[in-house]
């Protein structure tokens, strides 16, 4: 049993059980994105995929404490946990854990009991956040059109995690290369998902972007 403590109210607000279901709610997951032309082939090496159904958990705790030691991903970095989940240090004292349900469950299970030592919270974000993957050598060029950060290797190497405005939407972005090919995970609030998906398609069209919203 993972007891979730709300830092704002200084009380335990819910008991969460990390289940094997992608989203623990009885509601079936519904992607925030509708692609008018799914799996269209733009002819280039750049792909944009809607992977919003990926299980996502948000953990908040002290930037230095038992939870930080357990998750072991400093702000601005990411790491693959032993169980296979990807742990992103998205902000000081804030982590996003993504993966399959069992992988995420394994990564956050150790937080159970830490509330006796510090205030921490763990929330299932699967329904609340849109998540996209942009892959291809042209991905940095595409991101430069909609985001003001430096996407060169020395500023954002593989594993880097940043938060920034992408097409005027506040996003968490993690560089997560696939087989040596540039790849970025982009998270935003669910309600902005459709807009951001369309904005990324607009930005990537000149690079021959293929969009895939079949998940």
């Amino acid at each position: 049993m993972l007891r979730v403590r709300c830092p704002a109210w200084w009380c335990i607000v819910a008991d969460h059980r990390v289940s094997s279901d992608p989203a623990k709610s009885a509601l079936a997951f519904e992607s925030p994105v509708v692609c008018d032309n799914p799996a269209s082939n733009g002819g280039g090496d750049l792909t944009l995929s809607d992977i919003s159904s990926t299980v996502k958990w948000l953990v908040r705790a002290g930037a230095e404490g038992p939870a930080a030691d357990l998750l072991d991903a400093q702000f601005g970095t990411s790491r693959a946990a032993a169980g296979g989940a990807l742990v992103l240090g998205s902000r000081p004292g804030e982590w996003i854990v993504v993966g399959t349900a069992s992988e995420v469950a394994a990564a956050v299970a150790g937080i159970d009991g830490l509330e006796e030592q510090e205030f921490c919270s763990a929330l299932d974000w699967t329904h609340g956040r849109a998540m996209f993957r942009v892959t291809g050598a042209s991905a940095p060029r595409m991101l430069e059109k909609v985001c003001g950060l430096d996407w060169s290797d020395h500023m954002t190497p593989d594993g880097a995690v940043v938060s920034a405005s992408v097409a005027l939407v506040t996003c968490d972005i993690a560089r997560n290369d696939r087989d040596g090919v540039r790849s970025y995970l982009i998270f935003c609030d669910r309600s902005f998902g459709q807009y951001l998906f369309d904005a990324l398609i607009d930005a990537g069209n000149e690079f021959g972007l293929s969009a895939d919203a079949t998940f």
Binding site: F75, R91, P92, G148, V162, S163, A164, S165, T170
Partner: protein, 90 residues
């Protein structure tokens, strides 16, 4: 473009941040006079020169920080370090 030195995220475009105004130390509510409260709430120095001010990194780390900016040249100095809680003079 105004680059603001966030202690956590590094230099960021000011459009990624929110301006929080001049940074003044909050008076002690136990012994502050009405005049001190009024000055804290409503009065601003507004100099043409160096000023310590608050910024909120809205699109990045979502943390408040204070930094000194020259309001005449938009130059920043003494970029704060992570965890720096300095405020301005009362």
């Amino acid at each position: 473009m105004l680059l603001v030195p966030c202690p956590n995220c590094g230099p960021r475009n000011s459009t990624d941040l929110r301006y929080g105004g001049e940074s003044h130390a909050r008076p002690d509510p136990n012994d502050a006079s009405p005049a001190e409260w009024r000055a804290y709430l409503y009065l601003r120095d507004n100099p043409a020169g160096w000023l310590r001010e608050n910024w909120y990194c809205a699109s990045g780390c979502r943390r408040w920080f204070s930094v000194e900016r020259n309001t005449a040249t938009n130059e920043f100095r003494e970029p704060p370090l992570p965890g720096d809680k300095r405020g301005g003079a009362a």
